[in-house]
Subunit: 342 residues, 4 copies
């Protein structure tokens, strides 16, 4: 199938990840994470984050986020998330399932970002036991609208969260794109800014399967391995989940590939913004472009074979995967231009 | 690491599986199972099972079994399983977690096998609402003691189960070994013998990750895709879970590889049984050898670097993976012999 | 404590309920519902509803609604409810807990009522497996704004629900007030209008403790007794839950008491609506009055010792319990009048 | 119905409890426990236990035990209980449901009692993440065989539990009988002996409905009110759950009534033990008599209208409720004697 913009998980495996995966396929290895690849990549994570964090590898983002949130709260607690957050809109009730009933509280906020005052509003709105007690704030970095939180924005939210005794979780399905775009150290937008747990996305970054759950506050990861096991998220041949991370992390491939995807999104964003009748609904800061598209343009693009998702209202979402080529972006732009000018 | 007998998941990826995995890594593909590999392997499954079954790919055996059982019962129901069944002893409460509380009822039975009369005993023991109502029987094929159920044994259990309104689930973590050893058609030990749902093990067969849940009674799989999604078991890049199955299933590799493992177990079993002081605790019918081992022999083997699991009492478990070599088996036997004769 | 308007559960036990409760306290009786009171009141329910329904007695409304909803859906399904519904706003995540993760979808609608088109909107909005599949519509009768659904309104919603394969649940915490106010037969606003399961409120009606779950479609109540038992909702001395219902139901006390509460609400509503600066935010159709109150009037009433709840925005909620006296209503009105004229 | 020995919940409400219940039924009262009865009885509990404990009132024993256990562990933990414990055999999976999957580990032990060494055995048996980690020991006082733990026995178990980081829970469905029989202070067999949480049984003691959960380690009760609310265990008219406790606790009625039941059990026990062919299977230390009964004697008693439960094997259980009369005991003995001598 040709390249598309519907989702960054349409892409395959990054060469660096594939090579490490293939290399791990030799001889026998201890199961369930007691192997050298898992050890090496966990150490590598600690180096990258410049702290002694706890790292767990699980199968997908649904599980990573849900397990992390479940470890931060009890069933009668609630989790503050943006109303457009993936955990709210696209996990089929997974956070509620894993936590056995914790409720998600929808925060408003421009461009997919939560503000400290929204945290305050949602915490202070109720204080009776008939409403689940807020216990966690979850941020998505990059957001569901392709924007980013800057370090100081995260720190401000974390500080507010702390005032209310809340923990801070980050859904980093596109964490690589965020780090590459912000040109910060990974620590600067995580633990140094008050994040307790990060779900570090592997699949969209170029892995075949798997995400990492990174606990910066190690007290929070007590017995987390049991939680993973019980929830069907402990891989027996763990080396095949871990090794691809090594390939991506060892020589900075993760950031190079993410930077490329970001650049392609920027190229697409600029091109679309120039067209008459098109309007970005959020600034393009990572690898997604969100644009209000006249219905006939959207229909025309689809007739020409392009795949992309509808977003809220008449908007469309174009995601740039790690492998998207400039030629593909330009071909899409060419088609869009001819449709807009028709 | 050298080859070992601790677990059949110490082995890597089967060449046939790897080749198909690598081949699937080209271009873009639709996510979440809407790709050609998933379609092709599902069709292939239907051909192999000679029936129009429903197939779902999930990440591991814990999830496969737990999701399948949860789809067959409600939280206040119970599941009859052998007291040595993996769901009972090694899933850290996963069946209870996925089903939100269904209880496992331990059945006794020689060599890891449940009998129809044990089903009757457990069903008829109680009939009040203070005890969870039996709703499912789960069989492990091959069993946790390396033995097999013959088609007529499965049929007898299924018939008994039907009398009580119970469904029949099969944990087929080593289903390939069972089919290869019994020399039956896959249908003969599943739906033709009354099995409603099979968890078909991929990992131990030679895949990097993933198991298949096969519903022979398609009414039972209604909304199962939602169940998988909510439970964090829907792979976004599904092709990488599906494609390796193609490699294994397309030219009978799955049965060849399983037959080899079985043969190696047979070789090991015969060799160990010949040694003075050693006694098999169950007949060797698949790829596992269970043997009562004098403590000093067990210790001696471990000193020489061999890895294997303790089993009940003073028994040891030796599993033969798909890639175990005759030389490795012979080397283990040689060491055992010298220890026994010492 | 004097009479108040904060909640209709501030009131004690209705004399008719108390007498039956006291009468049931003689000698021994079989436990867990196998007693004559439970049998008699269940039969009485079937007479009142003019159908062969299944009746279960549980401890409170949280449990009644949550267990009923859990019996109508699986964890990956969703439940359409009004955005102001008690299950959404005041159950601390109980529906999610009992169902192990089912999501509530908030429907908009004037005066606390859902419309058929809102059902359509919420069902048709999404059809992918990343969003929980709608499976139930729940209506609150009387609504959280003290309004009522007329039989034909319920029937229209049920018909729409059926088109989409949804079941219909009614939260009848104030069902008695609804029946008394609409002057209909209980069957007309339940099963004849397409309701599958009713949670019939006992506590607010005048019982010390307990609600009834009434299944009009008996296929839906299969094993419901097990569900109640597992969820801690099976009373051992069931007669004390059941008997008070007998007292209320046997000579129409439930409707007389509810009619009185409704009349008091009507008296209060008319009195408040006459005052300058006060505005009803919903018509008064049952036993609750919802009124926009200037902040200084609200504060003044509280200073004079009156208790009532804040509602959305600057509105206040005044609930009339079964025992509220006309003198109490008039005293509140007198205080409100003097504050408004100040 | 005449008096029987099947269950101590066949009995009605104790006069002292009834009087307090009736007295509480006056005027309005704040809902959800914010009333004077709840405050007074909580204070009374603290006086009786001579410590500043946290007290919660829930509807029944299933819920009390399950909520308490759920508050002491996570879903991937396990709970050590006697193999005959009510939570294991008669709660229809409630502990698993409330905890979302925690497993119960069956401890053996003579006369229904767990020993410290059994705790050690079950904790040390496994230490891998494939088996749920033990986190709680639960003791039943009086046990399911009508025996008692003496203070030093409880202390020994608690000490062992502490060594492994386990919490100690006591199922006190018949706590009153235990205190009355042992003639100890309530503190001596609870917190002074290392118990963290007690479920103090109200129903069997003579209440219409309701049990108390008493946290001696108040850190463990954080947010427990939310847990109760979410699980459908928060009574709106809480005064009717709380007041009966006042009646029982205020002048020692609870111990007088329990002592009477114990004395009746003693009378029955001695009488039965004297009969030829009958054999007590456990010493009679509280209000239950467990006796091996020839099948024809059991059948004969039932023909004469007596109700009692079968127990393990050919044993029968006779429970003496708070209201059982000496004449009833003697009538049963008379019938048993004539059957034995026939």
């Amino acid at each position: 199938m040709a390249q598309h913009f519907a989702s960054d998980n349409y892409a395959g495996i990054c060469p660096e990840a594939f090579a490490a995966f293939a290399e791990a396929n030799s001889d026998h290895a201890m199961a369930y994470g007691d192997d050298e690849w898992t050890r090496r990549v966990s150490d590598r994570m600690r180096a990258i984050f410049e702290t002694d964090c706890d790292v767990y590898f699980v199968f997908n983002g649904t599980a990573a986020n849900s397990l992390a949130l479940a470890s931060l709260c009890q069933s009668y607690h609630s989790v503050i998330c943006h109303e457009a957050a993936h955990v709210m809109t696209d996990e089929c009730g997974a956070p509620e399932f894993f936590s056995n009933g914790a409720k998600l509280l929808a925060a408003a906020g421009e461009f997919g970002r939560i503000s400290p005052d929204e945290v305050t509003r949602l915490v202070e709105r109720r204080s009776d036991i008939h409403y689940p007690k807020p216990r966690v704030v979850t941020l998505t970095q990059a957001t569901e609208l392709g924007t980013l939180y800057r370090p100081e924005q995260i720190a401000a939210i974390s500080e507010r969260a702390r005032q209310y005794g809340l923990r801070v979780h980050m859904d980093g399905a596109r964490f690589a794109n965020a780090v590459a775009s912000l040109a910060v150290k990974p620590a600067d937008i995580t633990w140094r800014a008050g994040v307790d747990v990060l779900c570090f996305g592997g699949t969209k970054m170029g892995l075949p399967v798997g995400e990492a759950v990174v606990f910066f506050d190690r007290r929070l990861s007590e017995d987390f391995a049991y939680r993973c096991k019980q929830a069907g998220q402990l891989a027996s041949k763990m080396r095949f989940l871990a090794a691809p991370w090594l390939g991506m992390l060892e020589d900075g491939a993760w950031l190079r590939r993410a930077a490329h995807a970001n650049a392609m999104a920027e190229r697409l964003s600029r091109g679309l913004a120039d067209l008459p009748g098109l309007r970005l609904i959020a600034p393009t800061e990572a690898n997604g472009v969100f644009v209000d598209l006249p219905a006939e343009v959207a229909a025309g693009l689809r007739r020409r074979g392009w795949r992309f998702y509808d977003f809220i209202g008449s908007a469309a979402r174009f995601m740039c995967a790690w492998d998207i080529e400039a030629e593909t972006v330009d071909a899409l732009l060419e088609d869009a231009r001819s449709l807009c000018e028709a």
